[in-house]
């Protein structure tokens, strides 16, 4: 077993034990586990159908029959909140997945080859960084047309520069290490060196960035849905439910409260886990996401 492998396994062990020992991180992990279960099995677990209209129970406050109350069409809010969990998790995972794959690839090439390629790629990232996150996402969705897929692509695009920068910074320090020079001297190809030697050694900041970005991606999707640019009715999304419920907020508080609380708990859980991972894996990393947490 190589030294690198031992150190990598050590990192994973440290991360897992940190998650177990930190009560906040443990709570976050448990909340995320519940969310995944609800997200995957929401349609089966929900007490009612998400589009079951019942005009006899319109705008009913929370009760045993409807723990989160009913909306203006008499639909069960709890069922809609549960099924909407899938949308949020899906958008979070797919959009961050896009940002991770594209950003890491660009950052790897920029940091490894440096020179003009680095300059061109990083200036492109600077351009994307010049837009407030939500504004750029709104503009992209506006031109491509609203919907779940375009929302995921838009969020993926706006979070790509963060991953490119984190990756590039890691590559710049790793590429000067002895083991990389050794791999070059034995004739390993650039792609192999990047894949086998560089990437695994910059995994820690990327894991941290991924967990924190998931939180912000979910917030961004909620904001897009709130503006009517994400999931389209009648499919439920937490942001959309907030938007639809805002007109009734003074007479039916539950329409505004429960979907928002679901977003808050999910984002908080990702942040708690992300913070704990950062403390263990990458304590010196600057909170880029926090600085980028645009309220635009």
């Amino acid at each position: 077993m190589s030294e690198q492998q031992i150190s990598r396994e050590g990192q994973v062990r440290r991360a897992l034990s940190a998650l177990r020992r930190d009560p906040l991180a443990l709570t976050g992990t448990l909340v995320l586990a519940v969310l995944v279960v609800v997200g995957v099995g929401g349609s089966w677990l929900a007490p009612s159908g998400i589009n079951e209209v019942d005009v006899d129970v319109m705008l009913q406050p929370p009760s045993w029959a409807h723990p989160f109350g009913t909306d203006e069409l008499g639909r069960d809010v709890l069922s809609r909140v549960m099924v909407a969990a899938r949308v949020s998790l899906q958008v979070g995972l797919v959009s961050v997945g896009i940002a991770l794959v594209v950003g890491v690839t660009l950052g790897l090439f920029a940091g490894y080859y440096r020179g003009w390629l680095d300059n061109v790629l990083m200036r492109c990232m600077d351009v994307l960084f010049a837009f407030p996150v939500l504004l750029l996402a709104v503009a992209i969705v506006a031109v491509l047309g609203p919907g779940l897929t375009t929302a995921m692509v838009a969020i993926g695009v706006v979070y790509t520069p963060i991953f490119a920068r984190v990756t590039r910074a890691g590559v710049l320090s790793v590429r000067e290490q002895v083991f990389v020079r050794a791999a070059v001297s034995v004739g390993a190809s650039d792609l192999r060196i990047m894949r086998r030697h560089v990437l695994p050694n910059i995994a820690a900041p990327l894991i941290v960035q991924t967990s924190l970005s998931l939180a912000f991606a979910i917030l961004s999707e909620a904001a897009l849905s709130f503006l009517g640019l994400g999931v389209q009715p009648p499919d439920p999304a937490w942001g959309r439910m907030l938007f639809d419920g805002r007109g009734f907020v003074t007479e039916a508080w539950w329409l505004g409260f429960f979907p928002g609380a679901a977003i808050f708990v999910t984002v908080l859980a990702f942040n708690l886990v992300g913070d704990a991972l950062r403390d263990v894996l990458d304590p010196r990393q600057l909170t880029v996401s926090e600085a980028r947490r645009s309220t635009a």
């Binding site: 837009f131 003074t250 505004g256």
Partner: protein, 314 residues
């Protein structure tokens, strides 16, 4: 210093050029003919041809871009597909509303974040510190529009203290402006305050562990003097950047909050332009916001270099 400023100016100019390319390409990404899409059921051949020619869409792409760039440099961002009015005028009209909301929110955030961040760092591990950390975690996790809805419910619906939405210009009636700006500014400000509190706390903690602080304490200086004279000065330099970046983001228009509170700023304009498929207005708003964002960042970097000369060397 002069070389540093010139280098940053050149970098910003290159990025701004890239921003114009992205903004220009937005219109090209619209599936189909953007003018036809924008006109929808109001389609009439004469208006269609006039708008296409005015937007330069009958020219080759490269010609279109350089024409767009040339006009943008002279402050001409085209005309609205809907109203036919100049985009520059439409965007600039909305700036005061966004500016008043952004500045109020940042002042509100600073009033909370500075005392909270400083005290929580000085009394690290205390009850105040724990409260500050809970507050900052809450702020970075809570959706601002949810907090806004809950604010409307409490302060308008239950207590009846503040109007739920709307806008009155500061110059028109300062009292009514204050009552209208209070809820949206507090909503945005609380989120900004939580981010600032985190940065101030960590920046203070870093400086507090420096050797010169220990030396100052060893000399027998009182804690207040050490904090005011040695710690604050150095700890607050990086915070300048964060405050400015937050302000720049808010100048970009807090879209969701402006929509929620019917605040007629840049964010609301962007939203309306999207709904009406008024692409030139969307492009104009996005370009102006990105340019403002770059300008603020440039000014901050220069200010930062002045406050901390080591930056220019780096």
């Amino acid at each position: 210093m002069a070389r540093f400023v010139i280098r940053r100016l050149l970098q910003s100019a290159v990025v701004l050029l890239g921003v114009t390319v992205v903004v220009f390409l937005l219109l090209q990404l619209v599936p189909g003919d953007p003018v036809r899409v924008a006109l929808g059921t109001r389609f009439d051949p004469q208006t269609y041809e006039a708008l296409r020619a005015r937007a330069g869409l009958d020219q080759p792409l490269v010609v279109q871009y350089f024409d767009y760039l040339r006009r943008a440099l002279t402050g001409d961002l085209g005309v609205s597909f809907r109203s036919g009015r100049p985009v520059t005028a439409i965007v600039l009209e909305r700036l005061p509303a966004t500016l008043s909301l952004a500045v109020t929110a940042v002042v509100f955030a600073m009033l909370i974040a500075f005392p909270l961040g400083i005290v929580s760092a000085i009394r690290s591990g205390s009850l105040v510190d724990h409260a500050a950390r809970v507050f900052s975690q809450f702020g970075v996790s809570v959706p601002d529009f949810w907090m806004g809805i809950m604010g409307i419910l409490l302060f308008s619906g239950v207590l009846g203290w503040l109007p739920p939405s709307g806008y009155v210009a500061l110059t028109e009636d300062p009292g009514r402006w204050a009552s209208h700006v209070a809820l949206p500014a507090a909503t945005v400000g609380l989120v900004t305050a939580s981010i600032l509190t985190r940065f101030i706390r960590s920046s203070m903690l870093e400086v507090l562990s420096e050797d010169y602080v220990r030396t100052a304490e060893a000399k027998g200086l009182r804690t207040r003097v050490v904090v005011l004279r040695h710690v604050l000065r150095n700890a607050l330099i990086p915070v300048v950047t964060v405050v400015a970046v937050q302000l720049a983001s808010l100048l970009g228009g807090v879209i969701v909050i402006e929509v929620l509170f019917a605040w007629p700023g840049i964010g609301r304009l962007t939203y309306d332009a999207v709904a009406a498929r008024d692409y030139p207005v969307l492009q104009g708003a996005v370009l102006l916001v990105a340019a403002l964002f770059l300008l603020v960042n440039l000014l901050v970097d220069v200010l930062y270099a002045r406050l901390d000369p080591r930056i220019t060397v780096k």
